[in-house]
């Protein structure tokens, strides 16, 4: 008796649910199409949406907003220049708060929206790991302007030379830790003639990766490693570490991580009377570093990806636009890469449409993967094209040094190791 009643009611419920869902989806469709109608009333163009995923709030938001508005400017440029005739590009920016699970939710949200064609982002390599698969199963292009973990494109065993590309749909316009770390080691050993390096990192994907690569390369160039240590992000007292460095006899300190900790380390280091330069990656390339560390920062070095922006006219225009629009966030770090990544997508869309007689094909997302793979243009941070792993072929790097309280470019080159 009970069984039968259950059965009947279940089927009633199921029918009900089906009816409801049918209504629900139809009314949604109605609304959407009427919305679309409203929007397209003025222009007769298709709207193509490019998703952006970055931390837009929270501690990393300055950099994340730089990514968002970098992409925004690229889209605005494409729309005003009518780069792809008949297409209006729009940005849909989602906030991943630097958390993998949120990044993944954003990825599914972007994938679920049919007018989103590709995505730019995310900022953090850890977040990218959760997003790659979602985009890949949807055959949707994802270009990160800032992920530096080599494993994202070259697979787990990249360090041993056996590189395999895990996801065909993932690209990046930033160069990997491998290039930057090697370039830094090269500069430290050959140009600065340092023999004995102390290597510290913050145990984050970026910092630990960079430090590990620096260490390997520095040793292979005949340098000695005086010691290694790892700090916790958020710590402010590094006196123990400083004492260790002081007694290690190192003549350079390499730090893999962000300026939040390194500015304190360099200050405490020099306060303890250890006057050796601190060298780091682009995570330290910030004016805040010099401001907080004060005189202690003098002589410290960073490597940064790309050539100095003021040497490229396109980059200058970008920065001027960014400032003129009054966008929040930090365009300096990854804004240019974000612009280039977005432009690569826009160019890809153009290529896909050209091949389809000027219309967007139904499988545009999948076709875009091939188109982006063939990207080849001059962006604002250098030449943009992707190798067989989806990595940028632009391996331009610059070393900056603090001189009289300012970052000054001391060497620009390409790592070709």
């Amino acid at each position: 008796m009970r069984q039968r009643s259950l059965l009947i009611l279940t089927s009633v419920l199921a029918t009900g649910a089906l009816t409801l869902s049918a209504c629900g989806s139809r009314s949604d469709d109605d609304k959407k199409s009427s919305d679309g109608g409203g929007n397209s009333a003025g222009t007769s163009s298709t709207t193509v949406v490019i998703g952006v995923d970055a931390p837009l709030t929270g501690a990393n938001s300055a950099t994340g907003l730089g990514i968002q508005y970098g992409a925004q400017i690229a889209v605005d440029d494409a729309n005003t220049k009518k780069l792809v005739p008949g297409v209006t590009f729009k940005i849909k920016a989602l906030d991943d708060k630097a958390q993998p699970a949120t990044g993944q939710q954003n990825a599914t949200a972007l994938v679920a929206e049919s007018d989103v064609i590709a995505a730019v982002g995310p900022l953090n390599s850890g977040v990218a790991q959760s997003m790659q698969q979602v985009f890949d199963s949807a055959k949707m292009v994802e270009i990160s302007p800032s992920n530096t973990n080599p494993a994202l494109t070259q697979g787990k065993d990249w360090a041993t030379g056996t590189k395999t590309r895990p996801f065909k749909s993932y690209f990046r316009t930033a160069t990997t830790d491998a290039n930057q770390g090697n370039f830094a080691a090269d500069y430290a050993a050959k140009t600065l003639n340092k023999k004995n390096a102390f290597v510290v990192d913050d145990k984050q994907t970026y910092g630990a990766g960079l430090a590990g690569i620096f260490k390997g390369k520095f040793q292979s160039l005949g340098g000695k490693i005086a010691g290694t240590d790892h700090v916790n992000t958020g710590d402010s007292d590094f006196s123990t570490l400083v004492t260790k460095i002081k007694n290690s006899g190192a003549d350079i300190l390499y730090y893999g991580g962000q300026y939040d900790e390194s500015e304190l380390i360099t200050k405490q280091l020099k306060a303890a009377g250890v006057h050796i330069p601190l060298m780091g990656g682009d995570g330290m390339y910030s004016d805040t570093y010099i401001k907080t560390a004060g005189a202690a920062a003098e002589g410290d070095l960073v490597t940064s990806v790309g050539v100095p922006v003021d040497t490229l006219p396109a980059a200058k225009t970008f920065i001027d636009t960014y400032k003129a629009k009054g966008y929040p966030g930090d365009y300096g770090t990854y804004g240019g890469y974000s612009y280039d990544a977005t432009t690569a997508i826009i160019n890809g869309v153009k290529a896909v449409m050209d091949a389809n007689g000027g219309k967007l094909p139904s499988d545009a997302r999948a076709k875009l993967i091939d188109a982006v793979q063939k990207t080849d243009f001059d962006g604002i941070a250098g030449h943009v094209s992707f190798d067989e792993f989806g990595d940028t072929t632009n391996k331009q790097l610059t070393v900056y040094q603090v001189k009289s309280g300012k970052w000054v470019a001391v060497k620009t080159g390409e790592y070709t190791g």
Partner: protein, 309 residues
């Protein structure tokens, strides 16, 4: 081992800071048996209060002249927040089940941290803090920075002032009585509410001193500096014997020295090469806490109380 004196000094400096913050935990706990989780954030707001005063001072003012004003500013902010939290958040919950004030404290801690993050100008990243002039100098094999001197002097002055206050003043004795037995103290005509407010205020004041000292020592303050510091300070308070003000300072110093020695020397122990260094120091601090709780749950200076089931 020639680095030992320096490492001990490093531990002493950071430990004094823990100790100063731990006073706030231990006094409040001693009187109302409440772990004021938000105390770490009070330390943070103290530092930001001091910075706010500094940024509004005329340019070119000497840091020595600014220092008392900054201290006053930080103290006012921290004490107001501490007392306000007591009055508005904790006091209404005195009769509530024991989880309620703990959860309130956590909420308060989050809200304070985020309030500074959101509304203090440009506080989303670290804020630069003014520095004492002068370079570091060496005492024997130990190098010391001006910020360290300020910290140690502040800790010593604060501790002796507090000890004198508790021992000799009427209010101080009332505090001791309240900590012993609040009911009886109230029967004896002690206004327990006032005593509780004073405990929160002293905690806030000491936290502000610690916040200022931290800014002077590191040159950077951050909206999230309170969480770690609060956790460490609470550990220090437990190590020293919660409720005991001398224990708080002792616990702080012990914790600081343990941390710096663990970070410096554990990697020298065969088989533990990888487990030393800065990265593991918080782990060792935690292990120390667990060991103390296992072996001497009443803490180093705490009294053995019957039936702590």
């Amino acid at each position: 081992m020639h680095t030992l004196p320096q490492q001990l000094a490093n531990g002493l400096f950071i430990g004094s800071m823990y100790g100063l913050i731990a006073i706030g935990y231990t006094m409040v706990y001693g009187i109302v048996q409440l772990i004021n989780f938000a105390h770490g954030e009070i330390y943070m707001t103290g530092a930001f209060g001091a910075l706010a005063v500094y940024t509004n001072l005329p340019d070119g003012m000497s840091i020595w002249a600014a220092l008392p004003l900054m201290l006053a500013g930080g103290a006012i902010v921290a004490v107001l927040i501490a007392v306000g939290a007591e009055r508005l958040a904790y006091r209404p919950l005195r009769n509530a089940p024991r989880l309620a004030p703990l959860i309130t404290a956590i909420g308060l801690s989050l809200a304070l941290q985020q309030a500074v993050f959101l509304w203090y100008p440009h506080a989303t990243a670290g804020k630069h803090f003014p520095q004492l002039p002068g370079d570091g100098f060496d005492i024997g094999s130990v190098s010391v920075a001006p910020g360290d001197i300020f910290l140690v002097v502040a800790a010593v002055v604060c501790m002796s002032a507090l000890a004198t206050f508790v021992r000799t003043s009427r209010t101080g004795r009332a505090m001791q009585a309240t900590a012993q037995d609040p009911d009886t103290a109230q029967l004896m005509g002690i206004d327990t509410n006032r005593i509780i407010v004073i405990a929160f205020a002293i905690g806030g004041l000491f936290a502000a001193v610690a916040g200022l000292a931290s800014g002077l020592k590191y040159g950077q303050i951050k909206y999230d500096m309170g969480f770690q510091a609060g956790l460490k300070a609470f550990t220090a308070a437990v190590l020293g014997g919660i409720g005991n003000i001398y224990g708080a300072m002792l616990g702080g110093v012990v914790l600081g020295i343990a941390e710096s020695c663990a970070s410096a020397y554990i990697s020298n122990i065969p088989g533990m090469q990888q487990l030393g260094g800065e990265g593991w120091k918080n782990v060792w601090a935690f292990v120390l806490l667990i060991i103390v709780l296992l072996l001497r749950p009443q803490g180093l200076l705490g009294e053995r109380v019957a039936d702590r089931a």
